[in-house]
Symmetry: C2
Subunit: 410 residues, 2 copies
């Protein structure tokens, strides 16, 4: 008998029939003798419908009020799923974010979970009930409704699993596991039985879209056993995310290729090459709550330097506006950018012990005339920023170059 | 400078355009120097959509979970209206039922308000903000979401007006006031400038559908100045509900005709004519949370009596089932009923000082061959239960009989 947190995304609860299927799946897990906490998203399409309504009210909807509106999507799903479970004889109780006190900070639309009160959930589990919690949402210390941002239901699930010390957190999605890359781009992409936490982190953050990055960070921090499974097909063990490097683990040099179109490049040229300049530029961006991803500083001419970084595409114009205003203060010659770029990355723990991975990557891209605009590297990944029109080609080229279509030896 | 609570129903907020119109109306009241608290319903159609979803999950949706689902309708509206107000430069803040702590009992889907915490609203009003509160919903002492039942937004508005000691509670609806009867049934129906609280109470409870009964009771109890206005047309003072009998008041014998199709008759025949029998029957019905309206006990034969009462039509079958089970215990010969009945009532404070009103009513109905099944009277109204197919005819006949189409002398 284990305690399992199961998370079902928007597609998995996208219709009355699908919600009933989720209820059956939950009932099956209950019948196997496990305690179950279910985290659900809004029915697919619902969040978009609500965003469209909000946009008709205000060009830039008030963040606090937008969270009030958006959080209703998951609230509908929890109630419906509780009914579906009761209808097949499984006792269940639903909770919104505020009802289980998923307390967050006040950054509306991208709030971070600070603490969770598990008392109500524990009481229900002890009483033999399935607990259903609305994903994606929380409540601030002041009692305002907050949301965690798109994909935040994954984070809710992992955070609840951590708070409850669950044995496993299962993320049900429309894919049956983590692939070496997106099968829609590379048909030869393979499902991995296991993927290391570090790899998963890079794959998620770089846009593999299977799991939301914050959820993987959370899982790593609190050592939550995390599994990705398909909610649409029966059977299959999905992909387990591992946190210790196992001798028996698949040890390819490169495990997967990630890509991310949600990138825009900002260039700040000709700033004085003096201490504190990076902080002056990036501090202002961070203060505006804009996430910066790749950062590069080049040596320029005559005591000046060029500074480039990437931001999410939705933050492109605000960032340009912000730095345009700061241009004189920081003494820059020019603030410019490009929002038709993308990031392609190779990821793999095996990279650590292999030299020449980077040059092999660059050579493969060059062979197809794909120009590299920025490069950033970490111990287990190498990312390049390229023109977005080459994204699919670059992914296919690299998938083949590192032989990800072939079964690895154990 | 006054404090005004304005309530807008589902039709008034039924589209993006209409929500924007409500925002303009609120802004106008602000511009006149008043503090405004706005109570809104779900966008029209939304509650029905949610009920349909719930019914697909469970034939009889779990009441707690149904409230979780239904309460999202108003939550969407409050967020959207706050955005619409901010978009035209009016500072505003939205609150769900639990956020302003509209505390209710635990009778899901027909909860009663127990107390309201006005501290957040007062702070916002003081800061110059319009406060927007979701109607129809509250929170139980245990932190469960509750709803007040259909039309409960009116009650929310009046309860908030009472808690805030507002100068006036304005109910905006799709009619421009209270009429002598439904103009769709009787085209000659007239709008009343004022109507007494007692009359309004009877008109609302008997199905005039302009205001929800509990809201009028609440207004009477807490002496809330209540006005019904049209949200769809500009200008007009609507109908003011008065609580003191004024010398100058319109003093017709009969003020209005109400009708109500949400009626079903239950007959319990041949029960022992002994003390406590009424309690035995009606106590069981009340325990099942079923509202009983008209009650009649006839003398029967040989120490037995016949007992008849009416319940809302949705409770017809449950009531029959309940009493069917109790039949032997209470020693009844037969439990039967009819759910194709309706109630038509004449209402008026002037009735008190006029004899012969009842006989005039019965004669008018008899002249058109309308058979009366049950009669109940109070100081200011006379109700008859008749076959529902005669409802419109009876209403027209009585409207004409009491000359409600003619202007009254002041």
């Amino acid at each position: 008998m284990a305690l399992i947190v199961q998370k079902y995304g928007g597609t998995s609860v996208g219709s009355v029939e699908r919600i009933k299927n989720v209820a059956k799946r939950v009932a099956k897990t209950r019948a196997e003798g496990h305690d179950v906490v279910v985290v659900v998203s809004a029915m697919s399409g619902e969040t978009n419908r609500l965003v469209a309504l909000a946009n008709e009210m205000q060009a830039f909807p008030d963040p606090r009020e937008l969270d009030v509106v958006l959080s209703t999507g998951e609230q509908v799903t929890i109630g419906l799923l509780a009914m579906a479970l009761k209808d097949i004889g499984v006792d269940a109780k639903s909770y919104t974010g505020w009802q289980v006190a998923v307390q967050t900070d006040t950054a509306h639309s991208k709030a971070r979970i600070e603490q969770i009160d598990d008392s109500k959930m524990r009481a229900d589990l002890q009483a033999g009930r399935v607990v259903i919690v609305a994903g994606f949402q929380g409540v601030t210390a002041d009692g305002d409704i907050s949301t965690l941002g798109r994909g935040g239901s994954d984070t809710s699930a992992v955070a609840l699993a951590a708070a409850l010390k669950a044995d496993e957190c299962q993320i049900y999605t429309d894919v049956d596991g983590v692939y070496t890359t997106d099968p829609r781009v590379v048909p030869e992409a393979r499902r991995m039985d296991t993927v290391s936490f570090d790899e998963m982190l890079e794959l998620a953050s770089l846009g593999s879209k299977v799991l939301q990055i914050r959820s993987v960070e959370f899982a790593g921090k609190y050592k939550v056993r995390l599994r990705v499974l398909s909610s649409l097909q029966e059977g299959g063990d999905g992909t387990l995310i591992t946190f210790e490097e196992d001798e028996n683990m698949e040890q390819a040099i490169v495990s997967g290729i990630a890509f991310d179109k949600n990138q825009a490049r900002i260039n700040v040229r000709g700033v004085p090459d003096k201490p504190g300049i990076a902080y002056q530029i990036l501090g202002a961006v961070a203060d505006a709550n804009i996430d910066v991803d790749m950062i590069i500083q080049n040596v320029g001419n005559e005591g000046t330097t060029d500074f480039s970084f990437t931001v999410p595409r939705g933050d492109y114009q605000p960032t340009l506006d912000l730095l345009g205003k700061l241009k004189n203060t920081i003494g820059a010659d020019e603030v410019s950018g490009d929002d038709s770029v993308c990031k392609v990355s190779i990821v793999g723990v095996g990279m650590r012990s292999h030299v020449g991975v980077a040059s092999r990557m660059f050579r493969a891209l060059a062979a197809d005339n794909i120009n590299i605009q920025m490069i950033s590297t970490s111990e287990i990944k190498i990312s390049v920023l390229i023109d977005e029109k080459y994204m699919e080609l670059a992914t296919r080229v690299l998938h083949k170059e590192f032989e990800l279509d072939k079964e690895k030896e154990a």
